[in-house]
């Protein structure tokens, strides 16, 4: 079988002063015709750099040192800029992770598709638009969408448009760089299906970059696992998934959280936190002064109730826009609910004045999603971790001593106290954020997607840490996530939310094994790699 793309001994150098000299080191990879090859790896593994090198889109700071990239027998690395222009789009097309950034915000969708067609083929606008309409229909989108602008579409629709654009010139190779990472599970499943079908129909090859072994098992014919710029293992999907040879591959596969084996529900006790009928509406005004589209009202939370007892983890799962984060913000009063009550240890937080709230709030703390924005970049770790106790009047010496203890608990050393957040990895930052929250000795910990920005192996460590801390401090934990697999790993009970309402609620194991609600069933079915990895 002759390969469509052959990467031979590719070395790409990082700018000097990095933690390693090569972004990609001695990579050899073949992509056969009409084959789906997945490159899997964690962040910084060089998987995206490899894909961008094939597309000829390396960032300026990165230079190819040696190696060859043969596309249909031609060496791409030695070809001229004009040849590159002809190859891109027509021969090789690419779908990016963030479709909002890849689409031009001031150009209608249809024009963006026809622009690309006409850049490569001598056709008129009308003919190109007819092609665009066919493509858009194949992607399962309404024809009216051709006149819409990117901001009017949902994330899934945008990604479909991107795929339509990529397919518009019938490329021989489609490169997809984490195209579903920013999408909900159900949308992700649809997009993967779409890519698979397009590949089959057009007999094209796909190079798919992902960090998720679930996606790999659903999609790939062949797999290459990358770590620190090198391919540690490659082979057919079956070989790599069923009989992984490299220890790293085994660790990666093992780190993918499974749906089974979730903790059993606790014996019922008097709840510590009781939320009843919590509602929140957002009023957005469309257009200038709200005159164009009239006033829009969005029900972010619709009569949500829940209970949470000491030592228990309650998972709140749902897709984006389901209201799960709003729920957390309303409980902790970062947003003010319109109706309902939040009984915490008998007192209603929802109706409390500022001063009372300040005293109660220290008992409910939060861990945030984004490890980069949740720590003040201008403060040292010491300042960050001691800020809570200091604000409540604790002496500097005592709180510093406690901070050292707390950092040890979350697995960090005393030496980090004088360092700044940018010196730490995502996982370490989440640990710092957790230490900050625990310094106030809270009774309730709200974790809002605490691991969704982390690599799988780090994700597993942080989840274990959260569980350990919950047991040690007998915390009640409200765990918000969009990932059912993550919820299954540490939650005693889960609550599924959709459009601001609770769809169903129950013990994690029982609910995931036999969902009563059709929506929950759909969410579970959409989890990538379910069949193979759960077996």
């Amino acid at each position: 079988m002759s390969a469509l793309v052959r990467i031979e001994g590719l070395n790409v150098a990082l700018p000097p002063g990095g933690d390693r000299t090569l972004a990609v080191a001695d990579v050899n990879l073949d992509i056969g015709s009409s084959e789906i090859v997945c490159i899997v790896g964690e962040s910084g593994s060089g998987k995206s750099v490899t894909a961008h090198a094939v597309m000829g889109l390396l960032p300026r700071a990165l230079k190819t040192v040696s190696g060859r990239i043969l596309f249909e027998g031609r060496d791409m690395l030695t070809q001229s800029a004009e040849d590159w222009r002809r190859t891109r789009g027509a021969g090789i097309a690419m779908v990016f992770q963030d479709p909002m950034a890849a689409l031009n915000p001031v150009m209608a969708i249809g024009r963006q598709i026809t622009e690309q067609i006409r850049a490569h083929r001598a056709v008129g606008e009308a003919a190109a638009m007819r092609d665009a309409a066919v493509l858009v229909a194949r992607m399962g989108l309404e024809p009216g969408l051709l006149h819409a602008y990117p901001h009017q579409l949902s994330g899934g629709q945008r990604q479909r448009v991107m795929i339509a654009m990529a397919l518009s010139l019938s490329p021989r190779l489609l490169i997809a760089d984490e195209p579903t990472t920013a999408l909900d599970v159900t949308t992700q499943a649809q997009i993967l299906e779409l890519i698979r079908n397009a590949q089959r129909e057009r007999q094209m090859s796909v190079l798919f970059i992902t960090h998720d072994f679930g996606v790999v098992s659903d999609l790939a014919d062949r797999v290459a696992v990358m770590r620190e710029g090198r391919i540690v293992e490659s082979g057919t999907a079956r070989e790599v998934l069923d009989r992984p040879q490299a220890g790293y591959t085994r660790a990666l596969i093992a780190a993918v959280p499974r749906l089974s084996g979730s903790p059993a529900p606790l014996a019922r006790e008097k709840p510590l936190l009781e939320v009843a009928g919590l509602s929140k509406r957002y009023r957005g005004s469309g257009g200038f002064l709200g005159l164009w589209h009239g006033r829009r009202e969005h029900r972010a939370l619709d009569r949500v109730s829940l209970t949470l007892q000491r030592g228990e983890t309650l998972g709140v799962v749902g897709e984006s826009g389901s209201g799960k984060s709003t729920l957390a913000r309303c409980i902790i009063r970062l947003a003010d609910p319109d109706a309902g009550e939040v009984l915490f240890d008998g007192a209603d937080l929802a109706g409390m004045g500022r001063r009372e709230l300040r005293a109660q709030r220290r008992r409910i703390q939060m861990v945030f999603q984004d490890p980069f924005s949740s720590l003040n970049p201008r403060h040292t770790v010491g300042e960050i971790v001691t800020a809570g106790p200091r604000a409540h009047g604790e002496g500097a010496k005592i709180s510093l001593a406690r901070a050292v203890e707390m950092l040890k608990l979350v697995g960090l050393e005393e030496a980090v106290l004088s360092r700044y957040p940018h010196e730490f990895s995502g996982g370490q930052r989440q640990r710092i954020g957790l230490a900050r929250a625990l310094m106030l000795k809270p009774d309730v910990l709200i974790a809002d997607e605490p691991v969704s920005a982390l690599d799988v192996t780090v994700q597993a460590q942080v989840l274990d840490l959260l569980d350990k801390v919950r047991r040690q401090m007998n915390l009640a934990m409200l765990f918000i996530t969009h990932d059912m697999r993550v919820a299954a790993r540490i939650c005693h009970r889960v609550m599924v939310m959709r459009q601001g309402q609770v769809v169903e609620e129950g013990p994690t194991g029982a609910l995931f094994a036999a969902p009563r609600n059709e929506y929950t069933g759909r969410l579970l079915a959409a989890i990538p790699g379910r069949q193979r990895l759960e077996a």
């Binding site: 709030r361 945030f368 106030l440």
Partner: protein, 275 residues
């Protein structure tokens, strides 16, 4: 800090700007030591050309040394430029921070108040203010600060609006930190870079404004400033070019140096540079 300096000093314009500005500061500070007789002392015949004995920069219409006037003028320019900018940044940051942090009605009210200052022709307002308060160093500083603070307030508000929704600010709220502490300790350090850039540019424009006021005779009558030197010599412009051109050049070079520094700061602190 080291990294910031190395980023700041890569551009030759920034280096030139800093060097020129430092030289002007030295001259301004050293003027009373170098020329203890002061700028108003008559030292010779009027309108002597530059290079005459004892008068390297010539003399003005009353026979005073241009060189001494230029050195003393630097004192006024820098003093007014820097102190009015400090006042403006102070007012602007305070109002902008409060508006951006609290949002809602507070923001609306403060921003309408800011716009009130922005819609009045600034220089007219300034002349009225200075004339009303009697021309003096103090009234010039207050007047210039009053017409320039809205720029800073706008920038500060924008930064605060963005930063207050960052998760570390929410975390600080949950930890029970007071609003004052969140504004000044959590958000302000992160909002500072663009404010510093705007501030450095404002020093230059404040110097220009001061010169314009002095030219019109609204400067402090007891002090020699570059603007008042031009104003006093404008009748002699055609017979003795140096009486107006030299102070004009001094203004130009100072403002240019400050703008170079501002550009350099913008490059070094701007988010787009961080790659």
């Amino acid at each position: 800090m080291k990294e910031f300096l190395s980023r700041l000093l890569v551009r030759p314009q920034t280096l030139i700007g800093l060097a020129v500005f430092a030289a002007i500061v030295v001259v301004a500070l050293g003027a009373p030591l170098l020329f203890p007789k002061g700028p108003f002392t008559i030292v010779g015949m009027p309108l002597l050309a530059p290079g005459s004995p004892g008068l390297p920069a010539g003399s003005d219409v009353l026979g005073r040394s241009m060189l001494v006037g230029l050195a003393y003028g630097a004192r006024v320019s820098l003093l007014v430029g820097i102190s009015s900018t400090c006042c403006a940044v102070g007012i602007g940051v305070l109002l902008g921070a409060v508006a951006g942090y609290y949002g809602g009605v507070v923001d609306d009210l403060l921003m309408r108040f800011t716009e009130f200052f922005q819609i009045i022709p600034a220089f007219v307002l300034l002349m009225v203010l200075v004339a009303f308060l009697q021309p003096s160093l103090f009234s010039e500083v207050i007047g210039i600060a009053l017409i320039t603070w809205p720029q800073v307030a706008r920038v500060a508000r924008g930064e605060f609006l963005v930063l207050r929704s960052r998760e570390f600010v929410q975390a600080a709220q949950l930890l029970g930190e007071s609003d004052l502490r969140i504004i000044f300790r959590q958000i302000l350090p992160n909002a500072l870079p663009p404010i510093v850039v705007v501030g450095s540019m404002m020093v230059g424009s404040a110097i220009l404004t001061e010169s314009a006021l002095a030219f019109l005779g609204l400067g402090d009558p007891g002090l020699m400033s570059w603007g008042s030197m031009i104003g006093a010599s404008r009748s002699a412009m055609w017979v003795a070019w140096w009486t107006t051109v030299l102070p004009g050049l001094a203004i130009m070079v100072t403002v240019l140096a400050l703008n170079f520094i501002g550009d350099g700061l913008n490059e070094a602190l701007g988010p787009r540079r961080r790659q």
